[in-house]
């Protein structure tokens, strides 16, 4: 019963987080839009007659509308986009024994978690990794790389799939998939705006030069806001990624624990993680925007193996070593319980 209550609390907190994420995203876009409008308005109020005045906040209206569209799109099609970006193909009719095994293991874990069977995808990448995506358990997808199928034993594969089903069950996938869509959008926007400003500044130089010729000085508040606004555009992609990773890091321990509850086999997940850690190559097909969805960091070597404050701050996943140590602890507790049970009076 306490497990149920815990699960319910997890789902509730993920629903809440998804809502706040969406609100934060729209507010951010509103700031980017209307902040820009404000800066241009302040800078153009004392412009002479005939020259351009920024009165209608069309940047703000446009960016809020596009933020709303992006939220809606991430909600409806986020999972498809993530899968598409990795080049995954859906496994429907398993052809090889490995694929058959994957299908079986997913079915087993669906039964164990009491969820409908998710769609199964294979990512053509030799590096072992796996992720889950979707809106809710009914629309969930679990994807594994070809490298994972080749490297893991049946029990290890089961452990990894159980970890992914744990993400599905406690609705991590909703939060993470929304996040993937938004990170992509922010990166795109920052890129686009930067390019636009780059072109604009060349034109703007003539414009501001003309103005200073008239002796008018720029509104200091307008300049401050403009600088702040530009700064936001520059740091937004970095901040959004750090945020995604901070959220995902906590979820990984939890999914490890829930996955082990399903399989009752902590050592299988520990040895699977060991194999994943051993594979040092990057998972090339997983782009940065989807990194926080994976079971292990797709671009390792950078931070995932390091511990400490900075690593904690930047890495999307807790150090694999720590996860393995926790799993070993679970295995030890389980063994202790079982021995105690066997030796107790009958």
């Amino acid at each position: 019963m306490s497990d149920d209550a815990n699960l319910f609390a997890q789902q509730e907190s993920n629903r809440r987080r998804s809502t706040w994420l969406t609100i934060g995203f729209v507010v951010f876009f509103a700031w980017v839009g209307f902040g820009g409008d404000l800066a241009f308005w302040l800078l153009t109020t004392d412009a002479g007659p005939g020259s351009y005045r920024h009165v209608f906040p069309f940047i703000g209206v446009f960016s809020v509308l596009s933020a709303a569209f992006i939220c809606w799109y991430s909600w409806r099609h986020g999972a498809e986009r993530v899968l598409w970006s990795t080049g995954a193909w859906e496994l429907i009719e398993p052809a090889t024994p490995e694929q058959k095994q994957l299908m079986n293991v997913v079915e087993e874990m669906a039964i164990a978690s009491g969820l409908p069977k998710p769609r199964v995808w294979v990512v053509p990448d030799p590096d072992p990794n796996a992720f889950a995506t979707g809106r809710d358990p009914a629309t969930a997808s679990v994807a594994v790389t070809e490298g994972l199928l080749a490297a893991l034993s049946r029990d290890e594969l089961q452990a990894v799939v159980a970890h992914e089903m744990a993400h599905v069950r406690n609705l991590d996938i909703r939060l993470m998939t929304l996040m993937a869509g938004m990170i992509g959008a922010i990166a795109l926007m920052s890129d686009g705006m930067g390019r636009m400003l780059g072109r604009g500044s060349r034109v703007g130089r003539g414009w501001s030069g003309g103005r200073s010729g008239k002796g008018g000085k720029g509104n200091p508040l307008g300049i401050v806001i403009l600088v702040l606004w530009l700064l936001t555009l520059v740091v937004a992609p970095v901040i959004s990624r750090i945020l995604a990773m901070a959220v995902s890091r906590k979820r990984e321990y939890l999914a490890d624990a829930t996955g082990v509850q399903l399989t009752r086999n902590p050592m299988a997940l520990a040895s699977a993680l060991e194999k994943l850690e051993g594979a040092t190559a990057a998972t090339a097909s997983v782009t940065e925007g989807a990194a926080h969805l994976c079971i292990v960091d797709p671009s390792p070597g950078l931070m995932s193996s390091k511990e400490g404050f900075l690593a904690d701050f930047v890495a999307s996943h807790p150090p694999i070593r720590q996860r393995i140590i926790k799993l070993r602890g679970m295995a030890y507790q389980q063994a202790k319980r079982e021995t105690a049970g066997a030796l107790s009076p009958q």
Binding site: P97, N104, E107, A112, L343
Partner: protein, 190 residues
């Protein structure tokens, strides 16, 4: 005023009875559904076994007794009814299959044929599914049993025709066995 209070109390009681009744019925259906889940997997296992036996028969002719044990365990399992009996028969079938698979290890060329490997994967998966479905069934059945015995839900248990659901106890001797610690070999000086 008095009548309003009385009516409110009656309405409250009626609402509670409806809620408790529906809760019990919903749990009961979950138990039935949980059992169906197990049943589907058991059927699948029973269907897979003749295939396996036919595939290995030629190569393992002199292991006749093991094969016969599997077949007869399967037939007993098909005939079993009720949770207790099914659990026992299926436990025996699991053991017989385990012995058969242990024997196939001695026939490398048999293991090499894709067919046997595939059948083994299918049976392993089916067995896992039975295990997980059993976990789910036992969880729900325990919840249902607890609910109908607890006060005050037990008052409507009769109304909902609730009776305790049988749990699927693990009858497999291997899973139950207490490890025997033989200390004789460790005697000092021995």
């Amino acid at each position: 005023m008095g009548t309003i209070v009385l009516l409110a109390i009656i309405a409250g009681i009626v609402l509670w009875v409806v809620g408790a009744y529906n809760g019990l019925i919903s749990l009961k259906n979950q138990v039935v559904n949980g059992w169906k889940q197990i049943d589907v997997q058991l059927k699948r296992r029973h269907d897979l076994i003749p295939n396996l036996v036919n595939t290995v028969k030629g190569a393992m002719d002199f292991e006749r007794s093991t094969l016969d044990a599997v077949i007869s365990a399967r037939n007993r399992a098909i005939g079993a009814s009720g949770v207790q009996q099914t659990a026992r028969a299926e436990g025996e079938l699991t053991q017989a299959l385990g012995r058969l698979f242990a024997l196939t290890e001695a026939y490398p060329d048999l293991k090499a044929t894709n067919n046997v490997a595939q059948l083994q994967e299918e049976l392993t998966s089916t067995e896992n599914k039975i295990g997980f479905a059993r976990q789910l069934y036992n969880d729900v059945a325990t919840q249902y049993n607890t609910k109908q015995m607890q006060f005050p839900t037990n008052l409507v248990a009769g109304l909902a025709k609730a009776s305790p659901a049988e749990l699927w106890e693990i009858e497999d001797a291997g899973e139950r066995a207490v490890p025997v610690v033989d200390l004789s070999a460790n005697k000092p000086g021995a």
